[in-house]
């Protein structure tokens, strides 16, 4: 179990949180124009990097708000957390 820093509540135990997968997967702007392949990719395909990953977490047993975390999937370490829409998180180039 590790401490995860909620951008509103501060550091809390991991079991207060739920995982939401890759961040910034946007609903298509023109859904009716998508090919089957593009739909398949929107619905099912996500990045799976070995290294820093921008992903969504929700502080479900606390303030219940979603946020973005950059986490290193090799170590599970949280590199930074961000309120949604606040500062667009950048994945450090050197660690990619």
């Amino acid at each position: 179990m590790q401490l995860i820093t909620c951008p509103w509540c501060g550091p809390r135990e991991e079991l207060e949180f739920h995982y939401g997968g890759q961040a910034d997967v946007r609903y298509p702007d023109n859904p009716q124009e998508l090919t089957d392949e593009q739909w398949g990719h929107f619905v099912f395909f996500r990045d799976n990097p070995k290294g820093p990953f921008a992903e969504r977490w929700v502080h479900s047993a606390g303030c219940r708000r979603w946020f973005i975390a950059i986490r290193d999937t090799r170590t599970h370490q949280f590199l930074s957390v961000h309120r949604i829409g606040e500062d667009q998180p950048q994945i450090p180039e050197a660690t990619r």
Binding site: M1, W39, F45, N48, H76
Partner: protein, 426 residues
């Protein structure tokens, strides 16, 4: 006066197999092979074995970044069963189970395959309906299966708490008598020994870093015209005729290098064992609803697992609260476990797909086959998958049993959705 009498029984352990050092060579990689298999886990080794045994193809290398079968093969809880709901799944897992039943003879090596049966518990009315449906589907596919009420469940596994005053009472269970466990390391060593004897090069400490391609799909080459001509490894470049990707949790990191996207997500999956106990647990018990499954290893440890940790990860460890929940469920179902000590816990990295079924078959590169996405349940398919992949490599025709598991099902919508049947797989 220390001589043993001729009639003395063999001491315990006398029938254990040879130390693995003597079971295969450690060759230097050659500069070129007809077939390169990436990943020296059970799947890669079984594929190599059947390439030799069924097709006489021996100019084969298995490249393993660590030590042979040190990935999920060394970390899994070894449950073997074939009582899956959908026809496509039932067919490949049952093909594998039939091979397991003759594998010790085929390999000439002990694998401690023990068909002690599996109970999949039902805790809700919906579980009961799903279970009965699955049993009927299994029977139609010629797979041994029965639905049992709580009293019959207790006859098979007397230590299971079937009283109705627990949080999720046992309402019944499916039972597959031919299910079982095997000694995972011996299985890998048995395949490795036979593949090595057949001329396959098993190359450890050889990480695949990248590929040399002819016409990259990323640069717009038409599907089926691009090829991989060489493998970049920590031990130099190796030219290849055909490539089979058997890297379990790491498949997408390799396919990323080729610009091929898959819907795979890698997660930690944990397991744990208790101290050694005398035989108390005669079968395998799984519960998807309260999320624990238990068997007792040959030596006596209670072997337990649960579901994957929720987040993506490659760290080969998981969160402690997962273990806590799984132990709470185990103690409620098996009150006599309350005083058992946890000996050790560990995690592997499993690649899961959105429909809980594997992705096996062709890639946009004409000579590259992928085998991935077995998630929490790919040990049991080891011989079956190896058989089908070897067939596909040797004949150039997809084996019919792997055909339903093609990557394009996530576009066509022909999903093999085992979540409903297996929930937690294994």
């Amino acid at each position: 006066m220390s001589s043993t009498t001729a009639t003395a029984a063999d001491p315990p352990g006398a029938d254990l197999p040879e130390h693995p050092d003597f079971l295969w060579h450690n060759p230097e990689p050659k500069r070129s092979y007809d077939v390169v298999i990436i990943g020296g886990g059970g799947h890669g080794l079984a594929t190599a074995h059947y390439l030799v045994r069924n097709h006489g193809i021996t100019n084969v290398a298995v490249l393993e970044k660590g030590w042979l079968a040190g990935g999920n093969m060394a970390r899994n809880t070894t449950l073997i069963r074939s009582n899956y709901l959908w026809d496509a799944s039932a067919a490949i897992y049952e093909h594998a189970l039939k091979l397991w039943e003759g594998l010790e003879d085929d390999l000439g090596y002990p694998i401690l395959f023990s068909q002690r049966g599996v109970l999949n518990l039902a805790h809700t009315e919906q579980d009961v309906r799903d279970s009965v449906r699955r049993v009927e589907a299994n029977k139609l596919n010629g797979i041994d299966a029965e639905y049992l009420g709580p009293d019959d469940v207790a006859k098979i596994c007397p230590i299971l708490n079937v009283s109705d005053d627990i949080r999720y009472p046992v309402l019944g269970a499916t039972y597959q008598p031919r299910a079982g466990i095997a000694k995972h390391d011996y299985v890998a060593w048995g395949f490795a020994r036979r593949a090595d004897a057949g001329g396959v090069d098993l190359i450890q400490d050889c990480e695949v870093l990248d590929f040399v391609t002819e016409g990259s799909v990323e640069d717009g080459a038409a599907e089926g015209t691009a090829r991989v001509t060489g493998i970049r490894t920590t031990r130099g470049d190796i030219a290849c005729g055909q490539v089979a990707l058997c890297a379990a949790g790491h498949t997408s990191t390799l396919l990323d290098r080729l610009g091929v996207r898959t819907p795979l997500q890698s997660h930690p999956l944990q397991a744990l064992v208790s101290e050694l106990l005398e035989p108390v647990h005669p079968t395998i018990v799984m519960s998807n609803a309260v999320h624990v499954y238990v068997s007792q290893a040959h030596k006596g440890e209670l072997v337990m697992g649960a579901g994957v940790d929720s987040y993506n990860g490659y760290g080969q460890r998981g969160a402690f609260h997962i273990i806590e929940r799984q132990m709470a469920a185990a103690v409620e179902l098996f009150p006599i476990f309350a005083r058992a000590h946890l000996l050790r816990s560990w995690a592997g990295i499993v690649d899961v797909t959105p429909d809980a079924s594997p992705i096996v078959g062709r890639t946009p590169y004409a000579n590259v086959l992928v085998n991935s996405g077995w998630g929490t349940g790919g040990f049991k398919v080891t011989p079956g998958l190896g058989w089908c992949l070897a067939h596909t490599i040797a004949t150039g025709e997809l084996h019919p049993l792997i055909e339903p598991f093609a990557l394009d099902r996530f576009v066509t919508g022909a999903l093999v959705d085992e979540h409903g049947a297996a929930g937690v797989a294994h």
